[in-house]
Symmetry: C2
Subunit: 454 residues, 2 copies
């Protein structure tokens, strides 16, 4: 695994730092890919990070490193640096990375840094800061290749040679009209193979898919993945081309959204960097509130059971089946909500067919409940003897009831959340489980009381 | 959402198909992006799919459509087609897509189709079929641009104009020596801006990162994402360049692996296409076996509780606290295993520090157990009166015990699985939950029996 390679390299660097082997370290910095150098930082202690960072000589190197590093690390690195030096680095970074970073510090400090930057650099960043960081506007790059549609291939190549040297991923040339409105796109590949005098207008793909500045980043990622685009153009409310979202950012978004979904489903909030970078105390603080829902649910379940204490007193063996009834409901609920969640995330579920989907899950829950309820019923008669057939009935019904309810709740709650634009991943965690637990226990004892005439 | 747009379009197409409005449909086929056309198919019934597909006139259109469609749909479409026609379409598809497809049908039929294809096309496919579909070899494209390192920029452009017209994503030019060994890479962007007489060798990046044919696809994706590559070159055991993995496939892998993790964690196996495309019966069959673990666990828990029936008989109110003790353990277990899983997937966890990680999770579980145990203890005294302080003690200890155990199990099981190269996602599903349930119940009653002297 290449992660292990980074870890190995970081051990080496720790050693060299202790020895003060500056020459070796300089050598490593100059020879190693910035992405790898950034990877090393996460294995270094705070003081090692600072010492290592100070060995980066060129401002350009520092700028590239900052673009790759996690924001937390960058923020701790710039804390001690004089503002002038920080501004110098920020100026050499892509505007979207600077905006992301400044969005994480206090407004006063961000303003101070922007004031220190050159006018041109800070203007782009200030514009980007105006967008929600989870939208196309917040993740777009403002350096892109936009040429007038009347440009010829030869002129375009010349423009590439002179003007557009620092462009991050220049694989598409966007063509605009005299007013800056997006008219079409030509790929660099086409540009290479056409005769120099060809007008780009004549070969451009005029049916270009674009997104708005306020489009959610998840949708931008879906579009890029759907059409296999290397970049998606972003237009503002006046239909003017204002930026592009590049494929590397799309990949980050897909990673981020998947991790968020998993963590939320598990009741861990949505923090992407969960483990290892956090202290034990922080981990505890993060997990505590999510467990509260479960605790309160448990207390309610406690009242439910206490309500049936009379029945339990007479037939104490009923308690032995509580874990299986609750557990099976819980597991079927998790299965259901995970598949619904994933269906919503990938767009496979049509939210307009909400009733059809819930009915489908209800049917599945019922069938699964029937199978495992029957098995439990048989097991009880094997354990307690055939004269306990009434107990068998109770258990079978309770299992069907618990699993049907769980499947119904676990499908309907995320769907309803989704419809009202609440993140469905939140609903699938402790909430559904707890809710299911309470209802399972209640119906179990209710059925027992009725059928066993207690 | 652009998925909704596809759905809308598919409704329109259903209507046109019913009316037999062939002209309109032809029009739509010619004007719509193939990715969108493919999206429409998933909303059509089997007979509608066939009718719509028959309206595609050009073999090239059919080939592009097949590359985008889900394999299940392609397989059902080609079922009725004569083999000659199918071979004709396959020939025009990228080799990796054909190999994927043929990997899903019987060997006899695949062989027959390969025999019908032209020799050149079928050779590539046969080679690709030799690789595990989840490795770099299985997902790579064999059409890439490889030039001798002595080539000049001018010669490269000429080669692009003549030879490499069908290349999928021609944004890198790979340079090889006389023996076909990968020596370096030049981006198309560089090619455009250098003087025509420049030898590519002089400007190439010689430090090119490549993967082996047997490298796991997940690692290929990690590398592409890490270095922001648009393609990763693949070399065989003789260090010869044999293919490239393109960024669009990387995105598919990231999607696929995230979905698989989520579904496995929820006890749904690893099928990517879970919902909507499956019938209720298939869904049930898929979920049944995963629930068996939970059912067996429940039966064991049943014996555990029965073992303590004496204690329960004397103090029936103990049963009321079973749900909360089990539920809190279960939830903390889910939190723990999800964060471990994600740490493993993103490479943040160092498997060599397995004991440190487990101890860390144990400490977190203990602290969380202490907080919620104390709260439960207080609650019990509020509910049953202060003279029941011994019950409070029992509940507090049981909660600490349950949550510490859950955190320990939920971290150690995935880590041990990972070390022995079993997919850790499997361990986090029903297994951990069930195991935790049994132990929680056991220790709860054990502590109660000891402390309450029953």
């Amino acid at each position: 695994m290449f992660v292990d390679r980074t870890r190995l390299l970081s051990k080496n660097i720790k050693k060299l730092l202790r020895r003060g082997a500056t020459d070796n370290l300089h050598n490593i910095i100059n020879k190693t890919h910035t992405a790898d150098l950034a990877g090393i930082f996460q294995f270094l202690s705070l003081s090692e990070q600072k010492a290592f960072f100070n060995l980066f000589d060129k401002v350009e190197q520092k700028a590239m490193l900052f673009s790759e590093l996690e924001h937390e690390i960058v923020l701790s690195l710039i804390e001690a640096e004089p503002a002038e030096k920080v501004a110098e680095i920020l100026e050499r970074m892509p505007g979207d990375d600077v905006a992301d970073l400044l969005g994480k510090i206090s407004d006063v400090r961000a303003k101070a840094l922007l004031d220190l930057m050159t006018k041109e650099g800070s203007k782009d960043v200030e514009e980007l800061l105006g967008y929600d960081p989870k939208t196309a506007g917040g993740i777009m790059v403002v350096d892109f290749i936009a040429l007038n549609q009347e440009t010829t291939a030869k002129e375009a190549v010349e423009a590439l040679q002179k003007e557009y040297i620092d462009i991050e991923m220049p694989f598409y040339l966007y063509l605009v009209d005299d007013y800056g409105y997006l008219q079409g796109v030509v790929s660099l590949r086409q540009l290479v193979v056409i005769p120099p005098a060809t007008k780009l207008k004549s070969i451009m793909d005029a049916d270009v898919v674009s997104v708005r500045t306020h489009t959610d980043q998840e949708e931008v990622a879906q579009i890029a993945a759907h059409y296999n685009f290397l970049a998606v153009p972003v237009i503002d409310e006046h239909n003017k081309l204002v930026g592009i979202v590049t494929i590397d950012d799309v990949i980050d978004i897909i990673h981020e959204e998947a991790t968020e979904d998993i963590l939320k489903m598990a009741g861990l909030g949505g923090s992407v960097k969960y483990i290892e970078t956090q202290t034990i105390f922080k981990s505890i603080r993060k997990r505590l509130p999510w467990l509260l829902a479960s605790w309160i649910g448990g207390v309610i379940a406690c009242y439910v059971v206490a309500h049936f204490e009379q029945s339990l007193n007479k037939l104490v063996y009923l308690a032995a089946f509580m874990p299986i009834i609750m557990g099976m409901g819980g597991n079927v609920g998790t299965q259901t909500s995970a598949s619904i969640m994933r269906g919503l995330a990938t767009g496979r579920i049509d939210i307009n067919q909400i009733w059809r989907i819930i009915l489908r899950e209800l049917a599945i829950g019922f069938c699964l409940g029937f199978v495992y309820g029957a098995m439990l019923s048989l097991f009880a008669q094997f354990k307690y003897g055939f004269e306990m057939w009434e107990l068998g009935m109770v258990l079978g019904f309770a299992m069907i009831c618990s699993m049907t309810l769980a499947a119904t709740l676990a499908s309907s709650i995320p769907l309803v959340f989704h419809r009202y634009r609440i993140d469905p991943a939140v609903a699938t965690g402790p909430f559904v489980t707890t809710f299911t637990d309470i209802l399972s226990v209640f119906f179990y004892f209710k059925i027992a009381t009725l059928l066993l005439h207690i």
